[in-house]
């Protein structure tokens, strides 16, 4: 039944989906060389701590709809402190890294959640954060993280958390 609903939604949204894919340059590229995620992010984390800002491709769906798996890159820079709303690269366990958004901050204790996650959260200290996303790099444009329109959308997305499941369902049908 669930699959039937998914198929029907996808079929109904096909014209919108094709327009979205054309506008956002969604492509698949079979010629990708991948390194183990945690090893690579560990190296990126080290570079950020050395003061070397770096852009990475994002892998995974946990930051949908703002960052899309293998389509988008993010430019990361180190900061002295981080705020609620920042998308950060953080080590949440030894050798385990995530690129998620800060949803709560108490002193130097941070609560992180992926924009595309429903309930799962992670906890870390501010010292475990290597860098913050300062630019969202999409196929056809670069959006600064402090772009007012983007910031408003991110705030609205957080307020719509109670219906995030349904919004993501529609988003997945589009993509």
């Amino acid at each position: 039944m669930k699959n039937a609903i998914k198929r029907l939604t996808r079929a109904l949204l096909t014209p919108l989906r094709k327009r979205y894919q054309k506008r956002n340059g969604i492509v698949s590229n079979q010629y990708r060389h991948e390194l183990p995620n945690d090893a690579w992010l560990g190296e990126v984390s080290q570079m950020l701590r050395e003061g070397k800002p770096y852009a990475i491709y994002v892998k995974g769906y946990s930051m949908r709809p703002f960052i899309e798996h293998t389509r988008d890159r993010v430019f990361l820079e180190r900061r002295d402190s981080y705020c609620v709303g920042d998308a950060v690269l953080a080590q949440i366990a030894p050798g385990h890294y995530v690129l998620h958004r800060i949803i709560e901050k108490h002193a130097d204790h941070l609560t992180l959640q992926g924009d595309g996650n429903l309930d799962q959260v992670e906890y870390c200290r501010e010292q475990d954060v290597s860098g913050v996303v300062t630019q969202y790099i999409r196929p056809r444009r670069i959006i600064p993280a402090d772009d007012p329109k983007l910031v408003r959308r991110i705030r609205l997305w957080r307020r719509l958390r109670p219906i995030r499941r349904y919004l993501l369902f529609i988003y997945k049908a589009l993509v």
């Binding site: 060389h33 390194l35 183990p36 852009a55 491709y57």
Partner: protein, 89 residues
Amino acid sequence: MKIKKGFELREVCGEHIIVAYGRENIDFNKVISLNESATYLWKNIVDKEFSAEMMADLLQQEYDVDADTATRDAKALFDEWMKVGLVEG
């Protein structure tokens, strides 16, 4: 010719890779993996002015290879680095 600013050799999971950091390289979306001989050349020419001929000489110093092969391979690698955008000058 010189390696562009912001390009660095790093080792990840036993692989030697070239990464490009910094705002000036934000459009560079590749990660380049080097084999042993390319890594040797990189380590010896980084932060220096270099040419394909210099790279060929370095190969002959380190490896048991004839001059023609070294020249051909060094030129091919040099051209590849130019094409990818690692080199300036």
